[in-house]
């Protein structure tokens, strides 16, 4: 069937394993595998190179928006429990400090045990101030105070950490709406970025997470963490391509430097390896 210069059954099976195993899902996998044999026949490239090309075409992830915004730039970090938000805030802070920016962190996670402790520890390590909840103030109040302080004290970046939440809980999505809204009250253009953090080990639930979070706040970009493990993050890639959301960064470890700019070609290469 495949003739000369084509691709054999074994190789197709191998391609299927790598695509499915990376969490790309059966639909995208079937679509790519259907395309693979005829494309391999038409070229001298190896089937793996052709596979990478087809995959890249099928995940049209838009590039991150890199526009100049007024200072302080306000970034709100959201996502499900344990995805890596707090550590991402720390890594973003480390980067900003490295670029000479004055950074303020805000712990708008007023729920989880020792959330403030965790962010404060990072603040000390990076020599960056951290605003935490005062006496029963709610998450919205922390965000409001942080943005106000950022404006008044002339910070370059304000990073707002929020509590992890499963987005099928509508009351928790309402809290996010509130945080977003009060940030805008403190500074009209805020927040300038809303980063949705996803765990690199996530399966098909990535779609539902993005869709539901987006009913509450306008997500401007994604962060995929824990890609230093063996998970490939295919579900996030597929989702980002389908929903048209830029992937800004990927997390590759637990240290302050372990955040890398997203690069589609590199991501696809790693996924197929």
């Amino acid at each position: 069937i495949f003739g000369d210069g084509g691709i054999g059954e074994d190789q197709l099976a191998e391609a299927e394993e790598v695509l499915l195993g990376s969490d790309l899902g059966w639909e995208l996998t079937d679509r790519i595998l259907e395309e693979l044999p005829r494309r391999v026949r038409r070229t001298d490239d190896s089937w793996r190179e052709v596979l990478a090309g087809i995959l890249m075409e099928n995940v049209p992830v838009p590039p991150p928006v890199r526009e100049d915004v007024e200072k302080p730039r306000i970034t709100m970090v959201i996502g499900v429990n344990g995805a890596g938000k707090t550590t991402t805030v720390a890594r973003l802070a480390a980067r900003a400090v490295g670029e000479g920016s004055r950074v303020l962190l805000a712990c708008a996670d007023t729920f989880r045990a020792a959330a403030a402790d965790q962010l404060e520890t990072w603040g000390k390590r990076l020599d960056v101030p951290v605003l935490v909840q005062l006496h029963g103030a709610d998450a919205g109040a922390v965000a409001f105070d942080a943005v106000t302080r950022g404006v008044v004290k002339g910070y370059d970046e304000v990073l707002i950490d929020t509590a992890g939440r499963l987005p099928n809980k509508k009351g928790l999505l309402d809290e996010l709406k509130k945080i977003h809204m009060v940030s805008g009250k403190a500074m009209p253009s805020a927040p300038h970025r809303v980063l949705l953090v996803l765990d690199g080990t996530v399966g098909q639930n990535a779609y539902s997470q993005a869709e539901q979070f987006m009913t509450a706040v306008p997500v401007t970009g994604l962060v995929v963490t824990k890609l230093d493990g063996t998970a490939k993050g295919g579900a996030v890639l597929a989702m980002a391509g389908k929903l048209g959301i830029p992937v800004e960064y990927i997390g590759v470890g637990e240290g302050p430097e372990d955040l890398v700019d997203f690069d589609l070609a590199a991501f696809v290469r790693a996924l197929l390896s």
């Binding site: 195993g21 969490d23 499900v80 429990n81 344990g82 890596g84 729920f111 520890t121 499963l166 493990g229």
Partner: protein
């Protein structure tokens, strides 16, 4: 839902009046897709569907006026069987204090589960539990467990001002437990990658010394295909006795649970169903099967 898809697949077939084995194989494609969407590992899906196909080409389905319903029943029953038929209880044998160790990837829910487990043991088994903070790595981890301990009605043992290492904290906790007559020590450990050689060796040392009655893998219920490689690697390195699947109060289908069970044979002892200390339930195979099938 799978039932709708199967009914649709069979509707087109039965309109011809007779079902063949090849028709059943076609219907199996719907089962495969549903399971992959539910995050069941693709190798597990392959074996599972082959098993279901074999049962489904029996007389019952081929002669049924509602073959879709028959196939769903086979799929459901096969899944319940695979999940272990019934809940496997926690190991209770041995001199006090029993040691339970929680392990797993970063952010899977170990620290929260440790506190929940303490609470569950106290409410359901009348056990006095001491929580041991053996994660000295993650910022705020010790404080997190200490804070959760009171809500769980459990004692707390941490590194104290001396600092130390996870093994010292664990042995210290066991001594404390003996002294103060605790029944169980539940040890929280640092999240780690199964491919982090140094941290996996540390875990091997901790588990060897602790000789735990239970070593539970805490797995994120939102996980996809990779859950299998994580479980296999952890099981290869330490003597895992069971698993807890967390964040099942979300809308993820939780297929990683089936994969874990199918590939490692590990019993899933509990399901995490929320952030509060009472958010832990013994795994119910029928309910979990229903959820995975959507």
């Amino acid at each position: 839902a799978l039932s709708d898809r199967l009914n649709e697949a069979f509707r087109r077939i039965t309109s011809r009046g007779v079902i063949t084995e090849s028709d059943v194989r076609q219907a199996m494609r719907q089962v495969r897709r549903a399971l992959l969407e539910a995050d069941v590992n693709f190798k597990v899906v392959r074996d599972f569907v082959a098993g279901v196909n074999e049962k489904a080409v029996g007389e019952k389905v081929l002669r049924s006026i509602d073959p879709g319903k028959q196939v769903i029943k086979i799929v459901h029953d096969e899944m319940v069987n695979l999940l272990g038929g019934e809940t496997v209880p926690l190991e209770q044998k041995g001199a006090a204090p029993l040691v339970y160790v929680l392990v797993g990837l970063q952010g899977s829910g170990k620290t929260t589960t440790a506190a929940k487990l303490a609470r569950w043991l106290s409410d359901n088994r009348a056990k006095r539990v001491l929580l041991a903070a053996c994660d000295l790595q993650r910022p705020g981890a010790v404080r997190q467990l200490e804070t959760l301990a009171s809500g769980a009605g459990a004692g707390f043992f941490g590194p104290g001002s001396a600092g130390g290492d996870p093994l010292e904290v664990l042995t210290g906790a066991v001594s404390e437990a003996r002294l103060k007559s605790y029944d169980v020590v539940v040890a929280d450990t640092a999240g780690r990658l199964h491919v982090d050689e140094e941290l996996m060796q540390e875990l091997e040392r901790i588990c060897t010394v602790a000789a735990p009655a239970e070593t539970l893998l805490v797995l994120d219920g939102l996980s996809g295909q990779d859950a299998v490689s994580v479980a296999v690697e952890f099981k290869e390195r330490i003597d895992l006795t069971g698993a807890v699947i967390t964040k099942m109060d979300g809308d993820s289908r939780g297929g990683a649970a089936l994969s874990l069970r199918a590939v490692t044979g590990l019993p899933i002892k509990f399901i995490g169903t929320g952030e509060k200390p009472d958010g832990l339930e013994p795994m119910d195979p029928r309910r979990l099967a229903g959820r995975i099938l959507g």
